[in-house]
Amino acid sequence: MKLLKPSWVNHNGKPIFSVDIHPDGTKFATGGQGEDSGKVVIWNMAPVLREEDERNENIPKLLCQMDNHLACVNCVRWSNNGLYLASGGDDKLVMVWKRAAFIGPSTVFGSSSKLANVEQWRCVMILRNHTGDVMDVAWSPHDVWLASCSVDNTIVIWNARKFPEIVMTLKGHTGLVKGLTWDPVGKYIASQADDRSLKVWRTMDWQLETNITKPFSECGGTTHVLRLSWSPDGQYLVSAHAMNNSGPTAQIIERDGWKTNMDFVGHRKAVTVVKFNPKIFKKKQKNGSTPKPSCPYCCCAVGSKDRSLSVWLTSLKRPLVVIHDLFDKSIMDITWTLNGLGLLVCSMDGTVAFLDFSQDELGDPLNEEEKNAIHQNIYGKSLAITMESQLSSTIIENPEMLKYQQERQGNQNPNEAQGIGPENQTPKLTNVLNGESLEDIRKNLLKKQVETRTADGRRRITPLCIAQLDTADFLPALFNSVPILPGSSASTQLTPQISSDSSTANSLGLRPSHDPTTTSPNKTSHFPSLSTNTFSFSGLSCSGTIEPMKALDSRFTERSKAMPGVTSVPLTIVVLWFCLRVKDSSSVKEPKGKDETSSDSEDKIMVKSIAKRKGEMEGAEVVEKRKKGRPRKDAKTMPFPQVTFLLSKDAWISKSTDGAFSEGGFTVSTDGVTYLEVENEVSVVSGSRLSQLKWSREGREWDVLLPSRIIIAAGSSNVVAVACEDRTLSVFTACGRRLIPSIILPVPMSALHCSGHFVMALTASAMLSVWDVQKQTALVKNESLNPILSGTDATVSQSFLTQQGVAVVSLSNGKTYCFNSSLETWNLIADKQDSLVQCTDFRNCVSAQDALGSMGPLALTQGRNLSAGRLASRLSSTPHHLQQGMTLAFLEKQLSSALILLSASEYRHWLLIYARFLVNEGEAVREGQCHCSQG
C-alpha cells in the first residue's frame, strides 16, 4: 500500500467535507468551505496517481472551481454516467453541474485565486426544496433518481431525468438526516439520521421497509455526517456511527431480514463515513498452489472522528490496515476509484489523502461477468437481476460512452491530463459572432449596443449576446447521458427516456460481451463507428429511381462511399431494439404523462438499427462471439425502469443489397409494454428463407412467418405493419390476424410508421402512402416527395405519422412538411431557418403552464424548445412594429400549422398565445389591422 497526501489538494486551509472520484477516473471533486461561500473544486487525478505528472507543470492540477454555493458544501457526488456532478450545501440547495464545452478557460470573477479554470463546469440546475442544510446527496443506479437529505429531517427524491421534479419526499426521521446510500440493486435506499435510527425505504412505493434503532440507541448526535454504504453485492449495509457496549462501531446490517449481528469495532470515536469498494474480490491465486474455490468478498473503508482510517476485507476478521493520525481532524468522506485499488479520503482539517493498494493486498477484482453471476445467484431471475447486470454495464460503459461523445463533439481534448490551452477554445466564442473577433466587438461595444428609453424614461440596454447556450442543456427532460441521434423517427417526444436508454443499449449491443480478451481500447474504438457507420440504401434493381432515396437520409450515404469494391465483405447487422416502459407496473412514478401529445395511451417508440461493417477483424470477432456466446434471454436485459431489447443479428453476404435497414415499432400503453421482434432467416425451408415477426404484450404473444427478409416493422396499439425485402407490405391486427393480403410496393420501403389505424409508408423512390386499414381506404396515394425535395440537396431526416393520420416529413434543411390529403398538397409546417421564427418575441405571452400544453406533433417538428426569439434581442434596433408584425405572422403560421396537423392541444396553445399577444400589443395591432382593412 502506498500513501500520499497531495498537499496541493486543498481549499486554502478551509475544511473539505466531501470527495468523490469521477467514474472515468480522470478527475475528482471536493466540496467544502470557500472564502465566503461554499466551494466545489474539480481536480485532475493524474498528478495524484503519477509523480511525474505531479511535477509536470503543463499538467493542470485544478480543473475547475465553483463558488456558486452560498454556504459550505457538504457533499459532492458524480452521476454514474459521469456527466453530472451534484453538490449539496448549507445553503439548502442541491446544485447539478455539467461541463460546458464551448466556454474557454476563465477565472471565477472576484475570487482571489488567479488560477484559470481549465474545464468549465456550469450549474445547470438548482434544486430547491429543503428547508435546512443539505448533508448528503446520492445518485441512484442508472441515474434515474437523485436523493438528497437534510437537517430538515427529510429526504427528497428528485427525478434525475426531469429535474427539478420531485418524485417523493421521504418523511419519518425525527432528527437531522446525515447520510444516504442506494441499494446497488435499486430496490432500496437507506438513510441514517441523528434520531438514532437507520431507515431503509423501498423504491417501489417509497415506503419504509425497516427502521433500525437498536445499535444506535446509545449514540449522541455528535458527528457532522453519517455516511453509510451498501456493499456492491447488495447483501450488506454498513452504517456510520453506531454503538456496541458503549464503544463506537460501524453496524453491519444484513439484507436478509435486516439482521444486525455484526459490526466493525475498533475506532475510538464515532464513525463518520463508511464506503464500500465498488469491486468484489476473490483471493489472489498463488503460483503453484492448487486453485481452491474461495468465497468472493467485499472491501470496505471506514473513517472516523478519531482521525483514523481502517480498511476491511469481509473475509478477514481484522482490518486489512488501520492508519492513525492521517489527519488533524475528523475524516469526512471516502471515495474509491472504479478499479477498486485507489482510495481518496478527505478531512475537516482541509487535506486529502490517497491510498494506493495492490492486487496482492486486496485480491483479484471480479470482472463484471462474475459479479453478475453473483447477483444472479442472489437475486434470481427477477427484475432485479436484469437491472443488476445492466447496472454493471452502466458503470463500466458509460464513462467510455461519455468519452466517446466528447470525442464526437470534437471540442474535447481527449486527454484531460494535457489540459486545454486557452488558445484552443477562445476562437469558438468568436465563431458565434460571425467572424468578428471578441476584441473588435469589445472596442465598439459602447457605440454599438442598443440603448432605449422605457416608457417611464429609464435607460434600457440590450446586452450583446456573445455566446448562446445550448438550450438543450437546460431542458430538464433531456437530463440524460446521450445526445439524440439524428433520424430518430417520430420519437422526439419521447427522447428523454429513449436516448438515455440508447446509451445502455448501445453499450449492450456493441459490448463484446464479457469477454476478457476484448478490453476497453478495443471497445472504444468501436464507438465512433456506431454513429457514422449506418445504412447505405443503394443497390437493388431500381437504381434509376433510387436517387431521391439517397436523399432520404444523409446517414445512408456514408456507407456507400465506404463500400466500393468490397461488395463481398460480409456484413454483420446488429439490430438494437429498445422499448421503454411508461410505468413500472406498480407505482414508480414515471414522469411521462405531461409529455404526451394528448390523452392517448399510445406512443411511438424509436428503434435504432446499427450496422457494423466487418472492416477490422477484431470487430468481426467481437460480434461473432456475441452471436454465439450469448443466449437469447441474456439479450433481453432490462434496465430500470426502461426495458432494452436486443435481437435479430445476422450476417449475410451482401450481393445485391449492400445493407439492410431494419426498423421496428413498439407500442406502449400505460399499463404494459409491447414488444415487436423481428428475426430474419429463422429457418430455411426448401431453399426459401423464412423470417419471423413476434409480438408480445403482457404475456400474450403471437408470431407470424413471412417468406422474405423483413426490412422494417412498425406497430401501433391497433395494427402492426411489416415491410419485406420482396417489396411486400403486410398488415396485421394487434391480435395477429392478417388484415389485408400483402400489398405490393413498386420499390422497397424506406420508412414505415403506424399510428392508431393508420399506416404510413415512405418508399425508396420517395413516394408517400398513408392508409386507413380499418376503413380500408387510402388517405394518401403514392404521393411523390419531389415537390418538397426538388431544388434542394436536402434529405429526409425524420418522418412520422400523427395520431390523426397526418403524415409529416422533416428534411435535413430544417423544413418540415405535412401532406394534407383533402387539399392534396404538401404544406410547410415548420422551418428552423425561418427568420420569422427567430425574430419573434412573444415570451411575455407564454406562461409556465403553457409549456406543457405545447406538446404535440408540431412541437415535435419544431424542436422541443422553439428557437423563437433567439435573435429578437439583437434585432431590437428594428422598429417595434416590424417585430410585432413578424411575431404576429409567426403566431398565425403556428395556428394554421396546428390546425392542419389536427393537433387540438397545440392549436389551443398557440391560440392562447396569439390572443395574449394581441391583447398585450393591443393598440398598435389594432391600428395595423385598421390599415389593412382600409387598404
Binding site: 465566503d36 466556454i103 476563465s106 458503549s246 475498533g266 468472493p296 440590450t462 446586452p463
Partner: protein, 197 residues
C-alpha cells in the same frame, strides 16, 4: 430556475480625469431566458463616514436576456462634486456596481477608487477646495470585491429570509467526541468480522 452569473467586469477608460464618465464592461451568463430585465446601478461612495453621501450615478435596465453569455457597457456620468464632502474628495473611496432582479440584489461588486492630483505641486500642497479639474480617478480594477446574495429568481421579493450571505464556518461538528477511550484499539478485538459472501 434562473441564474445570472457575472463572469467579468472590465473597467474601461481607467485611470481617467475625475470628470470622465465611468465605464464598466460587464460580461455575464444567464442560464435561462429571463422574463424580466436586470437592473444595474453604479453607486459612488462620497464619504466612507456615512452612507448619506452615497450617490447613485445611474441605473439601467438590461434586457431582454435570453439564455447565454452577454456583455454590455454600463456608462454613467461622474459624481456630482457638489454632493461630495470636500475633505473626502481626494484619497481612497469606493464605487459599487449592484445588480438586482425583481427588486432583489444578487450581486454587489466593489472597487477601490483613488482620486489624486496628477500634478506633483498640487499633490504636495492640495488646495483646500478640491480642484476637480485636476483630479485623476484611478479605479483599482484588479481587485474587485464581489458579494453574492441568495435571491428568489422565480417569484418576487416577498420573503427571502437569507438575503444576506449565510454565515460560513459551520461549527456544528466541533462538538465533543463521543465516549472516547472505552473501545479497544483497532485490531485487538477478535470477533468483529463480517461473514464472507
Amino acid at each position: 430556475m434562473a441564474e445570472v452569473q457575472v463572469l467579468n467586469v472590465a473597467v474601461l477608460d481607467n485611470p481617467s480625469p475625475f470628470g470622465n464618465p465611468f465605464q464598466f464592461e460587464v460580461t455575464f451568463e444567464c442560464m435561462e431566458d429571463l422574463p424580466e430585465d436586470l437592473e444595474w446601478k453604479i453607486i459612488y461612495v462620497g464619504s466612507a463616514e456615512s452612507e448619506e453621501y452615497d450617490q447613485t450615478l445611474d441605473s439601467v435596465l438590461v434586457g431582454p436576456i435570453p439564455a447565454g453569455r452577454h456583455m454590455f457597457v454600463f456608462q454613467a456620468d461622474a459624481p456630482n462634486t457638489g454632493l461630495i464632502p470636500e475633505s473626502d474628495a481626494v484619497g481612497v473611496t469606493v464605487v459599487l456596481i449592484t445588480c438586482t432582479y425583481r427588486g432583489q440584489e444578487f450581486i454587489r461588486i466593489g472597487y477601490y477608487v483613488n482620486n489624486e492630483y496628477t500634478d506633483t505641486e498640487l499633490r504636495e500642497n492640495p488646495p483646500l477646495k478640491p480642484d476637480y479639474g485636476q483630479l485623476q480617478r484611478n479605479i483599482l480594477a484588479s481587485n474587485p470585491r464581489v458579494t453574492r446574495f441568495h435571491i428568489n429568481w422565480e417569484g418576487c421579493a416577498e420573503k427571502m429570509e437569507d438575503s444576506e450571505n449565510v454565515d460560513p464556518a459551520p461549527n456544528a461538528m466541533l462538538s465533543p467526541s463521543c465516549t472516547p477511550g472505552k473501545a479497544p484499539p483497532l485490531g485487538l478485538v477478535p470477533d468483529n468480522s463480517m461473514n464472507c459472501l
